[in-house]
């Protein structure tokens, strides 16, 4: 459950304010599938960063699962990211020196989960994303689609309730992009909320709820399933 009220985010560039987000009000129920679209610079990534607790708004409230997050300290926010949020990036952000399996295990390692348990979960995830024969491969030895699947496996390793994907298909060809979206949608059907930022109208249209942003504001919100 996500509740944003009056969220503002302003960057100062050379003494000039850049209003990346202006007064965003948004409520997202658990398990929703939501796409965010809009022109470049409209504030999509900024919104996602705030939802992912990587960034703090200058003003407004953000309640995640009933917890008011803007007042939390860095340590508590890090813990919430670890337990509740999975990120999928346009450029994958896999660690090049680590194997696919080690990349997937990374969030569990940071969380202090015992090695034996990690191995079991990694094995399960590799199988689920048809990567079992790639476990020992480095990212450089994988195709773009495979890399993004590894990244998605990493994102859900800790079984988050919220998956944030910022243009996850931006660096993929059409077929691999489709595959990745399929994977994400399948995940969403099993419980977690999925928020997908995309430039691709066709992909965006697949979401049950669609948001259109412009100049840091929500221009169109098709609304959640209940009121649409």
């Amino acid at each position: 459950m996500i509740e944003l009220t009056g969220i503002e985010r302003t960057f100062w560039v050379g003494g000039e304010p850049v209003h990346a987000l202006r007064t965003i009000n948004l409520t997202i129920a658990g398990g929703e599938y939501l796409s965010v679209m809009g022109p470049s610079g409209s504030g999509k990534s900024t919104l996602l960063n705030i939802l992912g607790l990587l960034d703090r708004p200058n003003r407004g409230c953000y309640r995640l699962d009933g917890v008011e997050t803007t007042a939390l300290d860095e340590e508590a926010r890090a813990l919430m990211r670890q337990q509740k949020i999975g990120f999928v990036f346009q450029v994958f952000h896999l660690i090049p020196r680590l194997s696919a399996a080690e990349n997937i295990a990374l969030p569990m390692m940071l969380a202090g989960i015992p090695a034996s348990q990690r191995r079991r979960r990694v094995k399960e995830l590799l199988a689920r994303f048809s990567l079992s024969d790639r476990a020992r491969h480095r990212p450089a030895e994988l195709s773009g689609g495979q890399q993004q699947r590894v990244a998605i496996a990493r994102a859900i390793a800790m079984q988050p309730s919220l998956i944030l994907a910022d243009e996850p298909t931006g660096n993929l060809d059409h077929a691999s992009g489709r595959e990745v979206i399929d994977v994400l949608e399948t995940l969403n059907r099993q419980g977690p909320t999925l928020i997908l930022v995309t430039h691709d109208q066709e992909l965006g249209a697949r979401a049950r709820r669609r948001i259109e942003m412009r100049d840091g504001e929500i221009l169109v919100d098709t609304g959640s399933d209940d009121n649409s």
Binding site: G52, A78, L79, V91, H93, R97, P107, M109
Partner: protein
Amino acid sequence: MTIRDRFGFAFQALAAYPLRTGLTLLAMAMATAAVILLTALGDSARHYVVDRFAGLGTNLLVVLPGRNETRGGPPPLLGETPRDLTLDDALALLRSSAIESVAPVVVGSAPVQYGSRSRESNIIGTTASFFEIRRLQMAQGRYLPGGDPHRGRPVVVLGKTIKQELFREEPALGRWLRIADRRFRVIGILQSSGHALGEELDKIAVIPVTSAQVLFNTPGLFRILVQATRRDVIARAKQAIETIIQTRHGGENDITVLTQDAILLAFDRILRSLTLAVAGIAAISLIVAGILIMNVMLISVAQRTAEIGLLKALGASTAKVLQLFLAEALVLSILGAGCGLALALSTLAVLDRFWPAVKLQAAPWSLPAAVVIAMGTGLLFGLLPARRAARLDPVIALHPH
């Protein structure tokens, strides 16, 4: 995140850049080895001196003419000219029950001549007790005769080297030789003493104290060696010496009594501080290695911005990122110090194998000290890059451009 995971992660990160890591390790290893080796040098010098002194004899006190006010300091090399210490002063000391024996010592230099061969040699004039106190062993013959020390018999005991120089392979016992213009009969040859300022003694000729006083035309003694009866009466012996001599010298306390412990302690102190000073100089190379670690890690942080952003996105807090990078600095310094330790010890082993006489040994404390200092250096210089990493804004770090 467990300690093992933390160090495993750090190790993998370092292994990803073998050249950079290798060079840093090398610098760290050299620095650690330098600290250990230079400390070994200083400490071995200290051991050398201490051992030499221990070989002088046990429960030893040395009485010198003249007052030396810097108590506990090294013995005065050149005293003023106070009242002489005489042979009777020395013999009077035997009245104290704390004193086992005394050996008056006169020292001088004179030509020693046998046949056509002549050597300028150091001459010691003393009594039979000297041999006991200094624990000298005879190779042949016997040492100076006992009896009244005032009788200056024309006999001489030769050190091994001077015997060799004068007599070559000829037997020397019973032969007469000349010291300055006087004739002396050889009654004994000293065994080469492996230690206790042994070199000196091998080249020396020992004659009765009174003979030496006549030879050098001096009524005074160079010093008196005193052996206390037991170790625990050394202080009492010292007291007795001062009282007896003071009475004999008209109430004036004009001698210096050095106990072996005091001499040892003084040398020990000097050489210890020397060792520390040398170790301190070597530690500068550790600082250089530390700066290298800092640079390597700053580069590493710059190259791994995206990774740091990712770690934060995956739930690593600022503190956790700081710890991860400090772990890297620690791994670098521990591995470097370990290599340095191995390097230093194998260098010492090689030295010992090929030049056993050098007797260079690492001071036991220097090993853990070097490792701890190396780790401290790594942590200290790792702090700046680690903090830079920890403070990175994940939003910017993860930005694709």
